[in-house]
Amino acid sequence: MPVSKEVLDQVALSQAEYDLIVQRLGRDPNYLEVGLFGSLWSEHCGYKHSKLLLREFPSQSPRLLVMPGAENAGVVDIGDGLAVVMKVESHNHPSAVEPFQGAATGVGGIVRDIFTMGARPIALLNSLRFGPLDNPQNRYLFGGVVGGISWYGNCIGVPDVGGEVCFSSSYAGNPLVNAMCVGLVERDKLMRSRASGIGNLLILVGADTGRDGIHGASGLASRTFEEEREMRPTVQVGNPFLEKVLIEACLEMAATGYLVAMQDLGAAGLTSSVIESAAKGGVGVTIDVARVPRREEGMTPYEVMLSESQERMLVVVSQEHEQDVVKVFQKWDLESSVIGRVTDDGLVRIFEGETLVASLPIDILTDPPLYRLKGVPPSYLEETRGFDMESLSLPPEGAGPVLLRLLSSPNIASKEWVYRQYDHQVQTNTLQGPGGDAAVLRVKGTRKAIALSNDGNGRYCYLDPFVGGAIAVAEACRNLACVGAEPLALTDCLNFGNPERLEVYYQLEECIRGMAQACRALDVPVISGNVSLYNETRGEAVWPTPMVGGLGLLEESERQCATAFRDGGDVVLLLGASQVRGDASSLGGSEYLEVVHGRVAGVPSINLDMEVRVQRLCRRAIGEGLLKSAHDCSDGGLAVALAESCIAGGIGFKGACAVGGRWDAALFGEAQSRIVVSVASGDIPRFRALAREQGVPWVELGRVGGDRLTWDGLLDVPLESLEAAWRGGLEKALTR
C-alpha cells in the first residue's frame, strides 16, 4: 500500500526518500514502519544535511576514549583514572512553544545523555538567545526559559556553572536554547550503549509512556517553527524528581557491572533508543509494545514507538542478572518492565502482544541518505561587506557615556539576574562559577581542576560564517586560557536555518570549515555535538549560530586565574597587540556598532597563528604564577574588558598609554586574540622574557588602582557608575 503525501509530510520524508525505502526493502512499508523511517532518517537522528560536513572536524586526540558520534556523548581522559563526558544539545523548538517546560526538558535530555554513560553529571552550562527585551513576548520567553532551567537543574542537584545569554532581533521568533552537560566517570566504569548478547533482555525504566512529543525528532527538527505551531505538538512535561532518582539508580546499577548497555530515550523515544543501540551492537531486537507501561489508554504501536515522554531509560541485561538490576530499581521505587530481547537476525521486530506489527532491517533504518548541496553566498553579504566603517561619525558624547551604554546593554551587562536563579555551588566543586571567562571545577581526590566555557557569536557568523566559526572556537579556547587551562576538547551545537535553502547551506558549510580550521590550529578535537536546523521565522533564518562548549584541564587547581583586578599598583597589559590603535575595521560586527550606530556590518577577522601564541602565553604565564588577573577582550572590546576587571575586583584602573587612530575603535573595537592581564610590577621582567620567548606582542596599558576608570583625555568614569550600569543593565531592560 503506497503511502499518501500527507503521511510523508507528517514524518518529513520526501517522495524520493520514500522511493528509496521501497527500493531497499523491496516492498512498501506499513504506517508504523514509515514512522520509524521518518524518525531515524530525520535531520535530528540521521544528520542528513550535516553529516558529510561534520567530517571536517578534527576528531583525533590521544585523550579521546570514544570516537565522536559513537556514543551519546564525547569522552576525554583526564588522567588519574578519570574521564570527562560532555555534550551540548538544543531545545529551541520546544522552548519556543512552551519556554518553561521546553527549557526544563532540554536540561533533562542532556543530563540523561551523560549519566547513560555511567558518568555523574557535575556541571550544566546554557547558551541562550532571544529577541530584544523591549518586546513582551521575548521577555516572556526569556523568563520562562530561565525559570525552566532553574526549576529542573536545581531539583536534580547539578550545578549550573556558566553560559551566555544574548539578545538580537534575529532570534525574536525563534529563541535558541542550548544546554550543555559535563559528567565525570572512572575510566573503567564507562558505560556503553551497544546492545549485545543474543537473548539478553531490554528493560525500560522510569516514566510511563504517554502521547507527548510524537514526531518530535522528524517533525519538529525538520520544520520551521511556524509550520510546527500548526502541528500543535503535545508539550513534553518534565519530572526533575524522577530524573534525579534515575541518575542515582542508573549510576548505582552501572557500578554493579551487571549491565550490558544503557541508553536514554530522547528524540524519537523508543524508536531511536532501541534501534540505535542495536545498530551499534550489530544485532537485532524484538520489542513488545504491549509491555510498555502507558500513561494513557488506547495508544497505538505507532504512538508508543514515537512518544517522547521524558525521564525514561533503556538497559540491556542478561537474564541471570535481571533480578539484580530490578532490585536496584525497587530500592529507588522505580517502575521497570522487560519490553524485548536482543536477537541475532539484524532486524527490529515490533510486536503488539502476539501480533507482528513491524519488521525492518536495522542497517537500512540507520543508513539515511546523506546530502551534499552546493551552497550559495547569501545576497546580503555584499552590502554588509561593502559598508565603509570610516564613514561612521565619532559619538559626540565621548567615550565615558558610550562605555556606560555598552555596559548596560543586555548583551554585555551582568547576567547575575539569570544565574542567581541557578544553583551553581551544589556538589561543592565550583572554584569559579558563572560570571567569569570560564568556570573552574575541582576534581575531588586529585590536584586537578577542569575549566568549562561556552561561546558563540551569531553576529560574526552572519557577517562571515567562516571567520565567525573560527572565532567561536578561538574564543571558547581563549576563555579556557584566561583561567589557565589547557583546552582538551570541544562540543558544539550548530543552530541554523533550513539547510535545503542554498544560502543557509552555505552558512552551515562555511561555518563548519571555519570552526574546523580553528580546531586544527589550536589542536583541539570536537568530540560530540548536535545540529539544530530549520530555525526560521517567516522565511527568515536566525543568524547562523554555532555554540561551542570548551573543556580545559588545570593540572593544579591552585594555579588558576580570574578576571578581577586585585592590587593597586599592578601593571595592566594587553596581550596580542603592540600598541593601542583604533583601526576602523575592528568595529565590524561589534556590539558598539549595533548599540551606538544601529548597524550590523563589516567583516570580522582573526589571525589563528597569533591566537595560538596568545593563548599559550596566557596559560604559561598563569602556570608560572605571573598573572594576577586575565580577561578575554570580546564583546564591547578593550574598554569593556577593563571595566569588567575593575568591577570584579572593586578597584579602578588608570590608563597611561597613547591611543592612536579612532578612539571608538581603540576602546570598543573587537579585534580578536587579545587578553587584558595584570601583573605585579616586580614580575614584569620575567613576563617580558616569557612573552619574547612565545613571540607574542604586548603593550602596557596602565596600572590598577583608585576608584575610577580613567584614561588621559579619553575616559574618566567612577567605578560605582560602571558597576551600576553593568549590574543593573539586564534588570532595567526587563522592567522597561
Partner: protein, 229 residues
C-alpha cells in the same frame, strides 16, 4: 564523632555534607537511607539539602513520613544533635520537630547567592564557637526559604532565644534589603526548645574550604564537634 547523613530520594547535599565531615573535619560518617531505621552508633544526624520527593505538594511534606523520620524524632528526644540544612530544615518543620513553616520566597524566584548571617545565640551546640552578634558569610540556595510562624510562636521563639541566625548586612544590621526571601524577622535558622535540633536555610557545608570562597561554615561543624567531644 560519628555523623549520620540522611538520604531521601531527591536529596542532593548528602555528598557535600559527607565530604565536609569526612574529608575536611576528619570525622566518621555514614549515609542513612530513608527507609532504614538503624541509627545505632551515631552521635549526630544531618538532614541535608535537596528536593526530597521533588518538593512536590510542599517542601518536605512527603519526606517527613519516611520510616527514618520516626527514628530521627526518637534520636532527638533522647538529646541527639540534629542539623537540618535547607530541605532538611523544611522537613523538620513539616515533621513538627521545629515550629513554623517555610514558604515560597517572596519574589517567587530561586536564589543561589552568598548571604550574611548574624549569630543571635551562641548558647547552642551548633554555635558555641561563635560570638553573639558575629556575622557569618554562608551561601543560600533555595526557592522556598521564607520562614513563617504565627505571632505567638514568633514571640515564644524570641523569648526563649530559639532564633539562632538572622539574615543581615555585612555589618550585622537586620534590614529588609538583607533579607533574601521574605522571612519573618529575617529568620534564617531556629532551634527547638530542647536545644538540640537546629534548622537553617543556608548551606554551611558549602563554605568549609577556602577554595570555595569562605570557611565560615566550619564554625557550625566545629561547635558540634566541641559539644560532642
Amino acid at each position: 564523632m560519628r555523623f549520620g547523613v540522611v538520604v531521601f530520594p531527591g536529596t542532593w547535599s548528602d555528598e557535600d555534607c559527607y565530604h565536609v565531615v569526612k574529608s575536611v573535619l576528619g570525622q566518621e560518617a555514614r549515609y542513612v537511607w530513608h527507609k532504614d531505621r538503624d541509627l545505632s552508633g551515631l552521635d549526630c544526624l544531618i538532614l541535608p539539602g535537596g528536593f526530597s520527593y521533588g518538593d512536590y505538594l510542599r517542601t518536605g511534606a512527603i519526606a517527613r513520613f519516611s520510616p527514618v523520620m520516626e527514628e530521627v524524632e526518637r534520636f532527638a528526644r533522647r538529646g541527639g544533635l540534629v542539623l537540618g540544612i535547607c530541605n532538611g530544615f523544611q522537613i523538620l518543620c513539616e515533621a513538627g520537630m521545629l515550629p513554623g513553616a517555610l514558604m515560597r520566597n517572596d519574589h517567587l524566584q530561586f536564589r543561589c547567592q552568598w548571604v550574611n548571617l548574624r549569630v543571635e545565640s551562641s548558647r547552642t551546640p551548633f554555635t558555641s564557637e561563635c560570638k553573639e552578634g558575629q556575622v557569618l558569610r554562608i551561601p543560600i540556595s533555595h526557592g522556598e526559604g521564607n520562614y513563617y510562624a504565627d505571632a505567638d510562636t514568633l514571640a515564644s521563639l524570641r523569648a526563649k532565644g530559639q532564633v539562632v541566625f538572622r539574615y543581615c548586612t555585612p555589618g550585622g544590621d537586620i534590614t529588609p534589603e538583607a533579607n533574601p526571601n521574605g522571612s519573618l524577622e529575617n529568620i534564617a535558622g531556629i532551634i527547638n526548645a530542647q536545644g538540640n535540633v537546629l534548622g537553617m536555610m543556608p548551606h554551611p557545608e558549602r563554605c568549609c574550604e577556602a577554595s570555595l570562597g569562605g570557611t565560615d561554615g566550619r564554625f557550625i561543624f566545629e561547635s558540634m564537634l566541641k559539644v560532642l567531644a
